[in-house]
């Protein structure tokens, strides 16, 4: 059947079961938009292309499906770069479709022309410039296949305007095989047997999960493994929700702002089982001494993650889910009782660390503590909300004080640390999970980076909740300046702020404010009950800092405590 490029594109999106596209139109994609509105695919019109990518990203993280975003050439395309890099660092499956000037103008510095394939080469899993309409269907199918398979990631497809309106024969569905791309899902069984051997011998084991556990849908298997082996568990920021935050074996997050007991356990364990992690510097602190008393086992689908930062005793390249299923199969019932006995002393030591330094704050009667707001948010939502964050103190407090019981509940820019991520990501998450409460935990600094997306939330009827921890500072940088730069607050004071309540109202949303501790709960209750988008502005303690803190480059067990 003869179809235009734009029609072929829509046909492939339908094949790939895409139900939502986040985008912003422009000259080079008019033909594509003209077809898009003839389908039943929902289009969410953003206010800035960065918002489109982050929203597609939030959609992907909340649903487990690939996010799709569609933008025009030139500035439309360059505006997506931060969002693409964000998704790339966190391995989020996403297909970004950019318009391009007609093929005969490419290279001529045409209006709104930019070499987006060249620009995004280092921050995409792969990217394509489609030069002929005959290649379009296959390229799009490859893009989805690459985005979702192996270690997932964003794939960009650049479609020139003439390719979108020329016609070609369309062949429905074909199997995609790429000779040079064959991710290893199946783990090496001999290696797994060795792991079981180490697990049986270990007296102070620690299970350490990351975003890979969530991406591969292995949270349940991960939890089962921990319970079977009676092993304490920590995760990275990206792994929060892979293990229930309410379980007694849960130690809290590891790393720069990890809990005292999680970091102490890492320094003192004799076996560290790392699954779906990549040993980021914010996790390891000083790499030379990281888990210095432990043998490290590392399971990951991406061979480049293994031995990139730390040496490992047993490397396993494979899918987290398949590996954990095999491990769970190998550990028999009669092992289980032994584990409880073997780890008794170790768990007692961890309990001791917990008592020594609990995660705590002192909510007085005058000013609101930011931790208190998150604490109450957790209570009122009964731990069931989807939380997105901006980046900085707000992100860390959300990670520390909201306890996630399930995967895909905590949506944050972990690797790239992108301010302005939270609001559009919340919009994407709400589009994917309309029945869940979605809250963007924000700072007064970062919310202003993509505040324009409030209009998107309004227009698309996606009632997200924005919770601003307003301290009038770029708080995390201020904290570093306080601790390491003798309180020289260079350029971190936000001396002029908009009135966030009026701003919300200007967008047609609801604006609420709390300035005193007793107002926190009523504002949260009212805001969470609203059926339209809400901004809740919590004026909090100005110079509150996030603790514990491992100074950059220090040993992970050397924490600054409150």
């Amino acid at each position: 059947m003869e179809m235009t490029g734009a029609q072929i594109l829509m046909a492939v999106l339908k094949e790939e079961e895409v139900d939502t596209v986040f985008g912003f139109p422009g000259g080079a994609v008019i033909d594509i938009y003209d077809e898009l509105v003839r389908t039943d695919i929902r289009h969410i019109l953003v206010r800035h292309e960065q918002g489109a990518v982050h929203a597609a990203d939030g959609y992907a993280r909340a649903s487990g499906k690939a996010g799709v975003c569609l933008v025009t050439s030139g500035p439309g395309a360059t505006n997506t770069v931060t969002g693409i890099a964000t998704a790339y660092m966190d391995s989020i499956p996403m297909v970004v479709i950019t318009g391009q000037v007609p093929t005969h103008l490419i290279g001529n510095d045409a209006f709104q022309e930019v070499d987006i394939v060249g620009i995004t080469r280092p921050c995409t899993k792969h990217n394509y410039l489609v030069k002929s309409v005959d290649d379009l269907a296959r390229t799009m199918r490859e893009a989805f296949y690459l985005a979702r398979s192996g270690r997932p990631g964003p794939v960009l497809v650049d479609i020139p305007k003439d390719v979108a309106n020329q016609s070609a024969k369309f062949k429905p569905q074909e199997d995609i095989k790429i000779k040079s791309y064959q991710p290893t899902y199946r783990p090496n069984m001999k290696q797994l047997k060795k792991i079981v051997g180490l697990v049986k011998k270990a007296r102070r084991p620690l299970l350490f999960g990351g975003g890979g556990v969530i991406l591969s849908g292995a949270a349940e298997a991960f939890t089962a493994f921990a319970r079977k082996t009676h092993m304490p568990v920590t995760t990275t920021l990206m792994g929060l929700g892979a293990f229930p935050g309410s379980d007694p074996l849960w130690l809290g997050m590891i790393g720069m702002h990890g809990t005292y007991r999680a970091n102490m356990s890492t320094g003192n364990c004799d076996l560290l089982i790392a699954i779906g992690v990549r040993f980021d510097d914010r996790v390891t602190g000083k790499i030379e001494t990281f888990a210095g008393n432990a043998q490290i086992v590392h399971i990951d689908i991406d061979p480049t993650s293994i031995r990139k930062n730390v040496g490992v005793a047993i490397p396993v390249v494979g899918d987290c889910l398949q590996s954990l299923n095999e491990l769970n199969r190998m550990i028999t019932e009669d092992n289980q009782n032994a584990f409880e006995e073997d780890h008794r002393e170790w768990l007692a030591q961890i309990e001791e660390w917990k008592k020594q330094h609990r995660m705590a704050y002192d909510q007085g009667t005058e000013t609101i503590k930011p931790q208190f707001v998150i604490d109450k948010l957790f209570e009122i939502t009964e731990g069931r909300a989807i939380i997105t964050t901006e980046v900085g103190q707000n992100q860390m407090w959300a990670a520390q004080y909201y306890h996630f019981d399930g995967p895909r509940q905590f949506i944050t820019s972990g690797g790239l640390g992108t301010m302005g991520f939270g609001l559009p990501a919340a919009i994407g998450a709400k589009a994917a999970q309309p029945d869940r409460i979605v809250v963007d935990v924000a700072g007064d600094g970062s919310i202003q980076m993509n505040i324009q997306e409030m209009a998107t939330a309004m227009q698309s009827c996606l009632p997200v909740k924005v919770l601003i921890l307003n301290n009038g500072y770029l708080g995390m940088v201020r904290q570093w300046q306080e601790l390491f730069y003798e309180k020289r607050y260079a350029c971190t004071t936000m001396d002029h702020q908009p009135d966030f309540v009026k701003l919300a109202e200007a967008f047609g949303a609801v604006g609420l404010r709390a300035t005193r501790p007793e107002e926190v709960i009523p504002v949260l209750k009212e805001g969470l009950a609203c059926e339209v988008p809400v901004i809740m502005d919590f004026v909090v303690e100005k110079e509150e800092s996030v603790y514990p803190m491992v100074p950059a480059g220090a040993n992970i067990t050397e924490m600054l405590l409150v």
Partner: protein
Amino acid sequence: MKEDKHVITMLVDNEPGVLSRVVGLFSGRGFNIESLCVAETVTPGLSRITIVTKANPPVVEQIEKQLNKLINVVKVRDLTHQDSVMREMALICVKASPEHRAEILRIVDIFRCKVIDVGLEHYIIEVTGDEGKLTALLNLLRPMGIKKIARTGTIALIREPK
């Protein structure tokens, strides 16, 4: 950790942008490139890239893994400790004053290279060999005065089983 020279050869899809992906990977991750050669192979659609790099063992491991991760890279091999043959080629334009002309030709003969262009005051010499041979030749020619030089990087192939 000690940095050693490694010759890494790879088959890649012969498509626009592939070289840029490979080179971008090296620059983006701070890997070193001493030389680089690219040309088509007999298989349609495939090219061979040979890169000489200096790196310590963990970095070489990362280089190989990262290259393998690129979708357009079909196969990667580190030939450094393999039974392989390696060659590079140079075109050397050397000053040929009357008193040196005979000496230069003797050197060319000894090194089994060729004179491919002759002028009143120069020869252009074509030489092929491993890096040591080229260096030795250049050391001998330098006193006569090297006007210009064009040099390929190393290309290499693994030996077939005998």
